[in-house]
Symmetry: C2
DNA sequence: GTGTCTGCAAACCATTTGCATCGGT
DNA sequence: ACCGATGCAAATGGTTTGCAGACAC
């Protein structure tokens, strides 16, 4: 049986704000946004709620190869692309590429359960900066 | 023109040890190994050399979704699988899965340059632990 | 001798945690 | 009233950096 959770104002605002965004913010970025509505919220609370919401499957936690964790309000399956220069992340509305898990399984003593993919590239502004 | 680099004993030992391993060690794991040969080496030196060697293309730096960076003495193209429980990483001697970069490009204003893939699963020992 | 590299220790930065208090139920 | 959640601040842990002395060339 699952632990019961309460609907606090903090949790609700965090979820609402995240779902209203398509920028895949870091915990800190979201913290600053939420603070405009709840000026006394603490960063620890943001972290705790993001973990809880993602455990409940209401949001998605993106552990891409960048330096900071990012969060996505959409839980529908889609891909992501990350800018190799500024680490910005965008959605890519195509299904995550499939891979031959069965073939992979033939080559390892690990139990193969999945594949994580991440497109990489240059975001519009880093792309322009580079052209100069 | 590239900055010149010197062949120090530290750099050589780090490279040799890493290439002799197939365990994809973290900087800290490698540090402890290297210390058996060079007891006074510092962790900072290990980090600096790993970065330098990977800039030179002599080793590969793995930024998988785990918590720590890992390093691979082999630069030949191959895949990796990561244990979701203990973060251990192993080689997978199959070519990295291809993806339709051109199709991805049609859906984003990023300049798509590549795809990073990472198999995930359970390593033999975490798999056994789970069976109990 | 020049300029890179090292060891050491302190700094950094994202994330986590302990604790007293608050507030949903 | 109970117990989960919060705010605060300190702790953690991986990685980076400043600096004075050491060493490769």
């Amino acid at each position: 049986m699952n632990k019961s959770t309460r609907t606090t104002r903090q949790r609700q605002v965090i979820l609402d704000q995240l779902c209203a965004l398509s920028t895949h913010p870091t915990a800190d970025e979201l913290y600053h946004l939420v603070r405009q509505e709840l000026p006394h919220i603490s960063l620890g609370t943001v972290y705790r709620n993001l973990e809880l919401l993602s455990d409940q499957g209401l949001i998605q936690c993106l552990e891409l190869s960048g330096h900071q964790r990012r969060y996505d309000g959409s839980t529908a399956p889609h891909s992501h692309i990350r800018c190799t220069v500024c680490d910005r992340v965008a959605d890519l509305p195509i299904a995550p590429p499939q891979a031959p898990l069965a073939e992979a399984q033939r080559h390892t003593d690990f139990l193969v359960t999945g594949l994580k993919t991440e497109f990489v590239g240059l975001c519009p502004s880093c792309r322009c900066a580079k052209d100069k």
